[in-house]
Structures are given as structure tokens and as C-alpha cells.
């Protein structure tokens, strides 16, 4: 009904004006759906369906020759996963790494983000720059850069080296996640706390930390997820086997797809549990936090 009265609309090529009038007459959520459709389609095609397939393969019977027996149903892969002491020890180590790196990266990230927040001018730019710059170099190479650094520092490659290297990988993300929330918080609130008698560290703890809890949660979850799944740093800097290294071996050397899939499924389950726990615990110390 709008077309007739609109001179500019009729001048548009047909498909555009069709979309135009569609958009104009849609209710908010129809319009939203139209705009979000590509994104949703992408996530379905490239994320949801592949994971359904992964799940399906984890229930296929392993085969010693090919990758798996198509069309079979079996719990053998899960039995293998649950029966293997090695796998549990590998998972244990991965989670240990994840927890250590997460704790360090959140603590350091919080401190560094606060330093950036409080500084100004050139110092602020330099500090921010120092966070962004490592993101711009290749992770693999950054990790290697630690070898010549760690050894003279007396840190022979090993778990400590892996922790440092992995920290270097996730820290920039943690800092940015926390800083982006911190940057929107109101400095006056900190002043108010000091005005009411909170010392400087106390005011940060009482007022800044709870407010940036959404950022801390993101930092923690990202650090944790990526460290638990660490591949490059442990592979390069230690003898220890992590989940990622092990599953890669299952896939590419042993070619046992069902076991790899089952292990991945188990891993995802464990990780979801941990991430839920992170949300739960950290949310107690902060305000409301929504994913969206």
C-alpha cells in the first residue's frame, strides 16, 4: 500500500524495492528474522549439523583398517575412552593446565586492564598496543620465541614453560575482555568508594571487580577453553600429552574416528560442566550477567 504513494520507491529496481517494502511492513521480529537468517543458516550448516555428525560417528563401530564402519551403532568407542587410564591422565593434565593458566590469566589480565584503564595519553596507547601486538604475530612463532627466552631464564621446557607460553597466548584476549568492560564503568564509583574510606586496593576489589565481572567471566571462560584445548605450546615445549595432541593422534595417525569423536564428546561434556561452574562461581561475586 505504500508503493503507490512513494515516488522514490518506484524508482528502485524491483528486487530491492520488494525487499524494501517487505522490510517496511514486517513487524520487528520478522524483520529481525530476515536479517539474522544468514547467520542462523551458517551456524546450523557449519556448526550444528557437523556436531550432529560428530555425535553420530562417536557411536559408530571402530574399524582397524578404515576410519570407521559406516552405518553401525556401537558403544565401543566410549568404552575405549572410559577404560583407558592414559586418556584420563591426559584429560587430567589438560584440565590442570586449563585451571592454572586461567587463574593466572584472569589475575594478571585484571591487573593489566586496570593499569590501562587508569593510564592516559601515550602510556595508555603503549600499554594497549602491547596487548594488541602479540595478537598480530603468529601464535606458533610466538610460542617458539619462548624457547630461546625460557632456557636462559633457567626454565627448562616443561610444564612451567607450557604455562608461560600458553599464558602469553591467552593473556591478550583476557586483558581485552576485561578492559572492554572496565572502560565503560564509571570512575566516579571508585572515587565514591575512596571517599567513603576504602583504600586504593580495597576500592578496586569492592567496586571495580564486581562491576567488571562480566569481563572477568569472559576472560576466564576463553582462557579456560583455549588452555584446556592447548595444542601448540605443550607440543613444542614439553613431553606431556594434552587432549588436543592425543586426539590429533587418534585422528591422523591411528585413524580411529569413532574414538576421536567419542573423546571429543566426552571432552565437550566435561568442559561445559567446568564452564557452567565458572559462570556459577564468578556470578556470585558480580552483578547479573547475560550472555547476550
Amino acid at each position: 500500500m505504500t508503493e503507490a504513494t512513494s515516488t522514490s520507491a518506484s524508482a528502485l529496481p524491483n528486487p530491492i524495492s520488494a525487499v524494501r517494502s517487505r522490510l517496511a511492513t514486517q513487524s520487528g521480529s520478522r524483520r529481525a528474522l530476515l536479517l539474522m537468517a544468514p547467520l542462523i543458516a551458517f551456524e546450523l550448516l557449519i556448526f550444528v549439523i557437523p556436531f550432529a555428525i560428530l555425535l553420530r560417528i562417536s557411536f559408530a563401530a571402530p574399524s582397524s583398517d578404515g576410519v570407521y564402519h559406516e552405518g553401525t551403532w556401537s558403544l565401543e568407542a566410549y568404552q575405549q575412552v572410559f577404560a583407558s587410564d592414559l586418556i584420563w591422565s591426559v584429560l587430567g593434565y589438560s584440565f590442570f593446565l586449563g585451571v592454572v593458566v586461567t587463574v593466572l590469566s584472569v589475575a594478571i589480565g585484571l591487573f593489566y586492564a586496570y593499569a590501562i584503564w587508569r593510564s592516559s595519553g601515550v602510556v595508555k596507547s603503549l600499554l594497549l598496543f602491547s596487548v594488541v601486538l602479540p595478537l598480530l604475530t603468529t601464535l606458533v612463532i610466538r610460542t617458539y620465541a619462548f624457547d630461546p627466552l625460557l632456557v636462559p631464564a633457567g626454565l627448562v621446557p616443561g610444564t612451567a614453560g607450557v604455562v608461560v607460553a600458553q599464558l602469553y597466548i591467552v593473556l591478550p584476549y583476557a586483558v581485552l575482555a576485561i578492559y572492554s568492560v572496565m572502560a565503560t564503568t564509571d570512575w566516579h564509583v571508585v572515587e565514591a568508594a575512596r571517599d567513603l574510606g576504602a583504600s586504593r586496593p580495597r576500592s578496586v576489589l569492592e567496586v571495580v571487580v564486581p562491576q567488571v565481572m562480566p569481563g572477568i567471566i569472559v576472560a576466564a571462560v576463553v582462557s579456560f577453553a583455549w588452555s584446556v584445548g592447548a595444542y601448540a605450546a605443550p607440543e613444542l615445549l614439553s613431553n606431556s600429552i594434552t587432549f588436543a595432541i592425543y586426539v590429533e593422534g587418534l585422528m591422523l595417525s591411528d585413524m580411529s574416528y569413532p574414538t576421536a569423536a567419542a573423546l571429543s564428546v566426552v571432552m565437550l561434556g566435561l568442559m561445559s560442566g567446568c564452564i557452567a561452574a565458572i559462570f556459577g562461581v564468578l556470578n556470585r561475586f558480580g552483578g547479573d550477567f547475560e550472555l547476550a
Binding site: 566516579h188 565514591a192 571517599d195 567513603l196 576504602a198 569492592e206 564486581p210
Partner: protein, 383 residues
């Protein structure tokens, strides 16, 4: 409660001087308003008082004790911020109890005291609310309660009412004043709203460009402004440019854009010479407006009048350009020889003038204030 002395207080940020040489003594239990336009250094002064900024120069004494270098958290002042700065992640009660928590008051006691303070500001039922969900006026009350809960020596308020709408702001002004009278604390209240300052203050300190220009009672600063800036800032007025024609012991005669020569009664020349540029302030409320041409007597040259009857009345003829009905008052904009002057009548006394009517404006020369070109006041009579 405490008395406060500021001595030669100065704050520079790089090139800009935010506050310059501010000295004032504030008495125990007094409510001082710092009034000034945006950027005049009010907040900076208050923040130095709170310990949130360190003065570049000068000293601050609370009850005689030099606290210039004490950080905010060691100083027993308490600030209510413009945007209230409530802790968004704490409940209302936790907000109010925060200062006590920092003073290591045991949990039970601090809950009790915070609750009592909430009751005091009529927010007793809101203790468990999330402060972000409150309305402006409620936030304001919580912020006040939070600051008062620590029993500060001095309460500092940085435009806490400026984010409220007019009606609420006026109510809160009265309420604040009542709380002050009740507590007998020393309050320093910053505002850029002259009505607010008049409503609240025991004394008003007027700031401009970092300087504290005048401190005094509300009527003193209104009736005896120290310079042209204050006269313009404290209320609506008509500024009229004038040139001194001549002076004698009894009056200063000036030429203005309003046509007729005007008379400013005085008890001496006060350093004025013929040819000096002045600015006169004619407040709308001193102007009486009446239909019709002025009397011949009134339009006679000021000189003649002064000689004939010693009158200090001035009168000019004009035309009503615009009538604005404002509820309780009516404002007339009057054209006089191309210049425009406005006068106000309360509704009650209003005849029914309308645009185009010829009118006479009359006023007593005694009520006119005069300022020199540099803005300073000419005192036409010895104090």
C-alpha cells in the same frame, strides 16, 4: 561537623587553571553553596575538599588541622556526586553500609545503622532493591544516605539535584535544607542553578573562571553584586550601555540607547568622568509598565527634573513588542528606540496590554546598578 578553611587554593591541569587562589572560611554547621557557570571550578574546589584532587597550591584545614595532603579515604568528608555514583552491583542497603564496612563496623551494627539512615531519607523499604532500578529522586536519597551514614565532618554535594526534573528538584531542595537543619552538619553544596542556591544556602559563594568572586548572604549577593557577571548570572535583567554625560554631587547623568538622558542618584562622582562607558542593569521587577505616553514631567531632561523636584524617577516611552503569558506572571518585551527591554508584571496587577500598545516604563534611579567597562561595580553611594 567542622569548620573549614581554604587558603589560597589553586589547581592547575597543565596549562589550564581550574581553580585560582580561592580562600574562604566556612563555619561549623553552615550550608555554603558554591554557585557558578559550567567550568568555573566548582567541582574542582569540592574535589580538593574531599581529597579526590591534590591542590597545586594552598592549604585546606578541617577544624584547624591541615588535611591538604590527606587522601580521600583518610579524610572524614563525604561526597554526594552529581550522578550519585551508586555501586550498581550492591543492594541499596549495601551501598549505604559501605562506608561503615570500610570502617570495620560489625555486620549487624552496620546493617542497623544503614537501615536507620535509609529510614531517615524515607527509603526504609528499599534496602534490598538494586539501585539501578530506582528513580532519580530515589537514587539521590540513597546517595545522600550513603554519605551521611559515615557521620562525616563535612558533607560535600556536587550538583546532586541537577539530574532531577524541575518539580522533584524543588522538593529535594527543601528536603535537603531540612536535613541540614536537622543534622547541623557543615554542608558545601555546588550548583549552577541560582534558584537552588537561593533556596538552600546560608551563604552563597559565586565562582567564575576558577575564582571565587564573592561570598555572602543570598540577599547580599543579589542586591549588592560585586560585578557585572554576578548581576547577570543571578537573575534576568536588562543590561543597557550608557555613557557618562556629567556628574555632580547628587547624581550621575548618562546617555543611553534608550533615548532620554537618565539619572543615577549618587553621593559623589566616585571616580566617574564624563565620557566613561558604563553598563546599567535594569531588573524587570523594578520597571513599572503602564499604558500611554509618559508625563511631560517625566520625560523632561533628567537634569530639569532633578533641579525641579529632586526626583530620581526615570521614564521612557516604548511600544509593546511581545507579550508572553507565563501563568503567574506576564512578560512584556518593550521596544524603545530600536532597543528592547523586558518588564514583568504579576498576573494580579496585569491590565490587558497587548503587542503594539504604547507604554511608559518608569523606574527609580536608585534601583539601578551600574558597572564599569571592566565589569566592576560602581558604588554610587558610600556604603
Amino acid at each position: 561537623m567542622s569548620d573549614i578553611t581554604l587558603q589560597g587554593l589553586e589547581k592547575r591541569y597543565g596549562e589550564t587553571t581550574a581553580v585560582e587562589d580561592v580562600s574562604v572560611e566556612i563555619d561549623d554547621g553552615e550550608l555554603l553553596c558554591l554557585l557558578g557557570p559550567s567550568g568555573s571550578g566548582k567541582s574542582t574546589t569540592l574535589r580538593m575538599l574531599a581529597g579526590l584532587e591534590t591542590p597545586t597550591e594552598g592549604a585546606i584545614r578541617l577544624d584547624g588541622e591541615d588535611v591538604t595532603d590527606q587522601p580521600a579515604y583518610d579524610r572524614n568528608t563525604s561526597t554526594v556526586f552529581q550522578d550519585w555514583a551508586l555501586f550498581p552491583h550492591k543492594t541499596v542497603l549495601e551501598n549505604v553500609a559501605f562506608g561503615l564496612k570500610m570502617r570495620d563496623v560489625p555486620t549487624d551494627e552496620r546493617r542497623e545503622r544503614a537501615q536507620a539512615m535509609l529510614e531517615r531519607v524515607q527509603m526504609g523499604g528499599y534496602g534490598d532493591e538494586d539501585p539501578t532500578t530506582l528513580s532519580g529522586g530515589q537514587k539521590q536519597r540513597v546517595a545522600l544516605a550513603r554519605s551521611l551514614a559515615v557521620n562525616p565532618d563535612v558533607l560535600l554535594l556536587d550538583e546532586p539535584l541537577s539530574n532531577l526534573d524541575k518539580r522533584l528538584r524543588e522538593d529535594m531542595q527543601i528536603e535537603l535544607r531540612e536535613i541540614h537543619d536537622d543534622l547541623e552538619e557543615t554542608f558545601v553544596h555546588v550548583t549552577h542553578d541560582q534558584d537552588e542556591a537561593f533556596t538552600l544556602a546560608d551563604r552563597i559563594g559565586i565562582m567564575n573562571e576558577g575564582e571565587l568572586i564573592q561570598v555572602g548572604d543570598p540577599d547580599e549577593v543579589y542586591e549588592n553584586p560585586k560585578n557585572r557577571f554576578i548581576e547577570g548570572f543571578l537573575g534576568d535583567t536588562n543590561f543597557v550601555d550608557a555613557t557618562v554625560a556629567r556628574t555632580n554631587g547628587e547624581a550621575v547623568y548618562v546617555e543611553t540607547e534608550l533615548g532620554a538622558e537618565l539619572i543615577l542618584p549618587s553621593d559623589g562622582a566616585h571616580g566617574l568622568e564624563s565620557g566613561d562607558e558604563l553598563t546599567l542593569s535594569l531588573r524587570p521587577e523594578i520597571l513599572s509598565i503602564d499604558r500611554g505616553e509618559p508625563d511631560a514631567a517625566a520625560t523632561a531632561t533628567a537634569d530639569q527634573r532633578a533641579v525641579t523636584d529632586g526626583s530620581t524617577t526615570n521614564a521612557v516611552a516604548g511600544t509593546v513588542a511581545n507579550v508572553i503569558y507565563r501563568g503567574s506572571t506576564v512578560r512584556y518585551s518593550v521596544s524603545i528606540d530600536g532597543a528592547s527591554v523586558f518588564a514583568e508584571r504579576t498576573d494580579a496587577s496585569s491590565g490587558s496590554l497587548s503587542a503594539g500598545d504604547d507604554v511608559t516604563l518608569e523606574w527609580d534611579g536608585e534601583d539601578v546598578l551600574a558597572f564599569r567597562a571592566d565589569g566592576s561595580r560602581v558604588s554610587l553611594r558610600e556604603p
